[in-house]
């Protein structure tokens, strides 16, 4: 049905790659915050532009997410990371990142810091395994959910298929949670397939 979709073996291998990368990201965040970070089982799949906007809308039922941060990354595989933060935002963990006062700008800064740590760590973990080094743009605050769904409007994006990776991070004791979405459009799907095939062939 979908020429770009991965086989079951490829998906399995991708899942494990991502699992390891996410584990490293969790460990990085845990070290910085000096607390335990609960990780969900990450999901990885190829989706169409229409499904992305649907998937992300499902992830952001009205009122459950407050701040959305996006960050672009680039190398052989380009993409964008979207981090959706729970209602509590960064309130619970600001002090762990060296923020004392907690006005609006500071709370955004906390979320930008957390996004940057997670996105950087997930991609460096992924990069280590596939032999790529990623460059990063500074993360920016997107604002409200409507803006995100507008950005992902199928008609508005210049791609039809993307590799989608998602995972939750949670610091229970601090009431902090976020959902990380990595989107890598079109040619990243094929590049990743080549990597996965090499890995599978080596088994």
């Amino acid at each position: 049905m979908n020429a770009l979709a991965y086989t079951e073996d490829q998906l399995d291998a991708l899942g494990e790659l991502v699992n390891i990368a996410v584990g490293q990201a969790g460990a990085s965040l845990a070290r910085v915050l000096d607390t335990y970070v609960r990780l969900s089982v990450p999901q990885a799949r190829v989706v169409s532009a229409a499904a992305v906007s649907r998937a992300v809308t499902e992830l952001t039922p009205e009122g459950t997410h407050d701040t959305v941060v996006r960050q672009a990354f680039f190398s052989a595989m380009r993409g964008e990371a979207i981090v959706l933060f729970g209602r509590q935002g960064g309130r619970g963990i600001g002090d762990l990142l060296g923020y004392q006062a907690f006005h609006d700008a500071a709370s955004e800064e906390v979320l930008l810091d957390v996004s940057n740590i997670l996105v950087g760590a997930v991609l460096s973990g992924l990069g280590e395994q596939i032999g790529a080094r990623f460059g990063f743009q500074a993360p920016t605050v997107l604002g409200r959910e409507t803006e995100l769904s507008e950005l992902l409007e199928p008609a508005a994006v210049p791609w039809s298929q993307a590799l989608l990776i998602e995972v939750d991070f949670e610091v229970e004791s601090r009431g902090f949670s976020c959902h990380l979405v990595l989107l890598m459009p079109e040619d990243a799907i094929e590049r990743m397939r080549a990597v996965l095939n090499r890995m599978l062939a080596a088994l």
Partner: protein, 320 residues
């Protein structure tokens, strides 16, 4: 060892020196290990002066607990870190280069923190780049202000700042459909300035404008928090009084009339006695729509005029 290439130390030193981007390097003890020309020029401190010294001792304006954590995180996990002028205006307090047209206090800075590996592969230093984004921030601010003004222009009356007729009708329409759906009370008031034409004729249009502004000023003083005021046109004004029945609207209208009657409104050093005529109507289920309600208030206003001005008349369904 190498053919001349981009890693030539002299080339690199020249480049770092001349770059129009601030660059400095910190060691794990927060001592400065590099300080380029951009930093020298903007801080007024030479490299010789700062190298080897702890940044917090040199620049007390730096938020120490925050910067410590930020830099330590880069040492710890070896990734980039960023700050944006949108959230944190600056890292180091530098003057900006738009002293004439700026309207902003200090240089706005986007910063990137770069992990620098030592020979053993561990992060030995953290480099920091500072990009002057003052111009970008100024134009963003100007754009936002312009957008806000545009938004305002489309809904507000330019002379008085209260809603224009279109926005007023839109608000009234929303209020009418709200009470129709959820119940509650709603009144609408129309009033105009008595003998306004004479003021215009005797003192000029400028004076007329000043009177209108003064009347709006006094009117806003009488209104309560949820009340909405708009200029319907010329010297005619409309008030929307949500959650207010006929009796309450009568009280507000009478207070308005009295306030203006006693108000000391000056034009060109001369005190004018300004009065207003007021018509009002309250919502009932049989009112067709917001236009009908406005029309009723207008008819009551006409009655107030014909009954001798400087008075309040309530619309009565049986006896219009």
């Amino acid at each position: 060892m190498n053919a001349p290439d981009s890693n030539d130390p002299q080339l690199l030193a020249g480049l770092i020196g001349q770059l129009n981007v601030g660059l400095f390097v910190l060691d794990p003890e927060f001592r400065l290990r590099l300080w380029n020309r951009f930093m020298e020029l903007n801080s007024g401190r030479s490299a010789a002066e700062v190298l080897g010294r702890v940044i917090f001792d040199l620049f007390p304006e730096v938020d120490e607990p925050w910067l410590r954590k930020k830099v330590e995180t880069v040492f710890q996990i070896g990734g980039y870190a960023f700050t944006s002028a949108n959230q944190r205006p600056y890292l180091l307090r530098f003057d900006h280069h738009r002293p004439v047209t700026g309207g902003i206090d200090y240089m706005r800075q986007d910063c990137t923190f770069l992990p620098l590996q030592g020979p053993d592969g561990r992060i030995a230093h953290v480099g920091v780049s500072i990009v002057d984004v003052t111009d970008k921030i100024i134009s963003e601010v100007q754009r936002e202000e312009a957008l806000a003004r545009l938004g305002d222009i489309s809904i507000r009356d330019g002379l008085t700042g209260i809603f224009n007729r279109r926005q007023l009708e839109r608000s009234l329409e929303a209020e009418v459909s709200r009470v129709r759906r959820y119940g509650g009370e709603l009144s609408v008031v129309m009033f105009d300035i008595d003998h306004f034409k004479q003021i215009n004729d005797s003192y000029g249009h400028r004076a007329g404008d000043e009177v209108i502004q003064a009347v709006v000023g006094y009117t806003c003083g009488v209104l309560r928090q949820p009340d909405i005021a708009g200029r319907y046109g010329g010297e005619e004004f409309t008030l929307i009084l949500p959650e207010t029945g006929a009796q309450g609207a009568m009280v507000v209208s009478e207070r308005l009339r009295e306030t203006l009657e006693r108000a000391d409104i000056h034009v060109g050093g001369q005190s004018l006695g300004v009065t207003v005529s007021v018509g009002l109507s309250s919502f009932r289920a049989d009112v067709a729509d917001h236009e009908a309600l406005l029309d009723e208030a207008d008819r009551a206003l006409y009655r107030a005029k014909s009954d001798g001005r400087n008075r309040v008349v309530m619309y009565r369904p049986a006896n219009p």
